[in-house]
Amino acid sequence: MPTKSLFANAITLISITLSALLSGCTSVNKPANTLYIAYALPENDFNQSTKERIENRIKIFTQLFQQTNPDIRVVTVAYKANRMKHQITEDSRLNLGPDLIIELATSLGSYYQDSLVSSFSNSPPWTQQYDDVIKGLSTFNEKLIAAPYAIIPQVACYNNKVVKQPPKTIQELVELGASGVRIGLAANPAEVIWTAGSTGAIPEISSLVTKQNQNKQPLKIKEWLTWLRQAAYYQNISFYSNQSQLSDELTSNNLDWISCNSFQASVMKEKMGEQLSITILPNGVQTKAFTWPYITAFGLGANSSPTQRALALSYVKSNTNAVGQRQLMLRNEDLLPANKNVDIPNESSKTLKALNESWNEQSLSYLEEWPMIIQYLSTSQNYLDVKKALAELTSGVLSVEEAEQILINLAKEDNE
């Protein structure tokens, strides 16, 4: 039976090839240790240049790691952001999951729930390097499941040829729009909630979760939603589904001022050059903008061998300790260190100053509210419901009252 022997021959050939690869690509008697790192790329930007950009950044991590582990081979695997969890789930079923996962700290919680990542030990070296907000974002059931290494703050990006003086308050932002400057905002909850901070609505949203002041009318939430609705009326203020679209529009010169994150800002800088300026998002008259930073972190894969786990921990330590974090910050101007023991040299650049202010003065001014806001938006269903309500509000489908009722009811459903 020729086909039978063909199948056997194919298997033999594959075995020989694998053996040859093994022998050819490892040292004589000792197999090379390999560390697999998974990371995500946006599905709408999954291309060679984006992959190269991210991998160049990971190379910096790897260089720091290889200073103490020079013979270790580090393999990076890129996934489409919307498919990464599914892919890692499938890989883990075959014990082929990665040793390290680079993801948002908030997303690693769901990986942990599905046993795709393991927790770090709660011993001091890990927990003492983060402040309470970051620790809170990285902890699940009192276990540290993510080791944050970078903060990507939310800021404002604008074309300095058009916008001479960036707005300091959201009232000034509206006036700027009225003066003819084209303004872009994202309708995505995490990317537009900064306006809730500027209008003073964050404490009220937080109290919806804590059930405090339940009898009091949530006037500030209504004020926030009204501001969003009015902004949508203005000719020069446009809402887009996410910040990626906003950055595309700004680089295409279709917008002049947008909300963005520091990573997008660095990408836009390559295209716009000196025309791009970065500053903090506008505050309110009395309250700060509730800027939502992305906290990127390492998660420990669940399938590692003992050697690979030790290497993974070493990799994370190399990149989260104070020295490594300072090195990272000096080499990348678009992120802040997650380690609280690293000082940020504010005066070195305007960009770094804006990032520092966004994180330390805007985001961290809501220390008490953060856990509640995360809880409010933590489930994917809640997040999608809020997203839908905001999109419908800014497109005129929902009235302010209807949108307000949806937000209040979501909190009630959670409490029940």
């Binding site: 039976m1 086909t3 039978k4 199948f7 056997a8 298997i11 075995s15 694998l18 690869l21 093994l22 050819g24 690509c25 490892t26 197999p31 090379a32 240790n33 390999t34 560390l35 697999y36 998974a38 999954f46 291309n47 060679q48 992959k51 081979r73 393999v75 695997v77 890129a78 996934y79 489409k80 498919r83 892919q87 499938e90 890989d91 079923r93 075959l94 014990n95 082929l96 399938n303 590692s304 061998s305 050697t307 690979q308």
Partner: protein
């Protein structure tokens, strides 16, 4: 290319994981055991299904049981699943071939279903060991100023394979639809099928090239350069190619037609782009004749305008038989043969007053030119029988042979001289 090799070689790092290594050992043991069991069962003449099922099902069963005991067997289960599927398709294919060696379903299983399983399994493995989308972005080189990415290259190759195997059935279907719609002949349908097939392949190749991101301007430039190169270097092939296209469009030679090649009737089987494929009637030999032959040399066709062949049988009858009776009989015999066409009807003629007979020729037509020889044989037999039944003789020259000695002996020489003298005196008496 180095990046790709690095990615592939990096997969060996998974051997560091005991859960992976042990499953690979389990699979290897299963494969070795399968070969051993297969030989044993073959010696006992076990059924095909048995020795195809035992290996993969045993691996699948063991893996599932171990999996229930929380022992990692994900790789082994998936490998066994693919193995089962492969052997199942193989078994179906072999069964179909046993029934009919030219079974179309078996051909599709071999050409499409089984390669699909291999490709799917390969992609699945790559996706598990790395990420398909990530591997797809690896650059393996540059062609015509375009970066060749693994993903584009792989999908181009798959596309090319699918175009090649699917172009046949699609062309057949389209030509059949056109034939039904336009009510054309079978021969036209065959020609149309070939033209459509090459059009699909041609446009398919272009689509694949564009999909792979090849530079169109560079493609055109290279085509122009190639044209010059072809003109000098491979002009014969190119001439054959052009001749093939011309023949297809002109329709002067079509599949099914019968041509005389070196005095032998041959049927055109396939009109290829380089050569025409014919089968010779005499010995069923397959001939491949370059298309340009039909442009540069005379080609005798029996079926250029019509599908039948005109043939004849010559026979002699004795002088004392009435020619009209013989002609009627010959026409009747020819008309009664089932393979002789009624229209045009058979015709007999008296063609010669020969030495010992009046010669007749009966002309007739057969529907299938390649049957002309067997029909003429049948007719000769029928004519002999008919002549026998009607008392018509077929004369033939008779010869008498006298043995002679040389040099003649004395006695026989005198005898013969005497005989000649007697003969001469007799002749003289007659003359007197």
């Amino acid at each position: 290319m180095n990046n790709l090799l690095f990615e592939i070689s990096s997969w060996t790092g998974y051997f560091d994981r005991a859960a992976v290594t042990w499953q690979l050992v389990l699979i290897a043991c299963a494969l070795i055991a399968d070969i051993y069991i297969w030989k044993k069962l073959k010696a006992k003449n076990a059924s095909l299904l048995t020795y195809q099922a035992v290996g993969p099902l045993a691996l699948l069963g063991i893996s599932i049981l171990l999996g229930m005991a929380s022992i990692p067997t994900g790789i082994a289960i998936r490998f066994a699943g693919i193995w089962v599927l492969w052997n199942l398709l193989l078994w179906i294919e072999l069964r179909l071939i046993q029934r009919n060696p030219k079974d179309r379903k078996a051909r599709w299983l071999r050409r499409l279903a089984r390669p699909s399983i291999i490709i799917w399994a390969l992609l699945y493995c790559i996706d598990r060991l790395n990420s398909l989308s990530s591997i797809a972005l690896i650059n393996v080189g540059t062609l015509l100023e375009a970066q060749l990415l693994v993903g584009g290259l792989f999908s181009s190759l798959i596309g090319l394979y699918l175009i090649l195997i699917a172009s046949g059935p699609i062309a057949f279907m389209l030509s059949w639809l056109l034939k039904t719609g336009l009510k054309t002949s079978d021969q036209s349908r065959n020609a149309l099928e070939i033209v459509i097939r090459y059009l699909i392949i041609g446009f398919g190749l272009l689509a694949v090239a564009f999909q792979a991101g090849l530079n169109t301007a560079a493609l055109l430039t290279i085509s122009a350069g190639l044209s010059v190169g072809i003109g000098f270097g491979v002009k014969d092939i190119f001439f054959n190619f052009i001749s093939g296209i011309w023949l297809l469009f002109e329709g002067s030679i079509q599949p099914g037609e019968v041509l005389m090649i070196k005095g032998e009737p041959c049927r055109v089987n396939k009109l290829g782009l380089r050569a025409t494929q014919l089968s010779r009637d005499r010995d069923d030999a397959e001939l491949r004749i370059p298309n340009q032959t039909f442009f540069t040399q005379d080609a005798e066709s029996y079926t250029a305008g019509e599908n039948f062949r005109r043939n004849e049988v010559v026979v002699g009858a004795a002088y004392h038989h009435e020619p009209k009776q013989v002609i009627a009989l010959l026409e009747q015999v020819a008309s009664q043969h089932p393979k002789v066409l009624r229209n045009p009807s058979p015709k007999a003629f008296a063609i010669d007053f020969a030495d010992s007979s009046i010669n007749y020729k009966v002309k007739y037509s057969v529907g299938n030119p390649l049957q002309a020889l067997s029909v003429s044989s049948d007719l000769r037999q029928d004519i002999w029988t008919a002549f026998q039944n009607n008392g018509i003789g077929i004369p033939f020259p008779q010869r008498q042979v006298y043995p002679m000695e040389w040099p003649p002996s004395q006695q026989s020489s005198q005898g013969s001289q005497l005989h000649r003298e007697n003969h001469a005196s007799t002749d003289g008496q007659d003359q007197a």
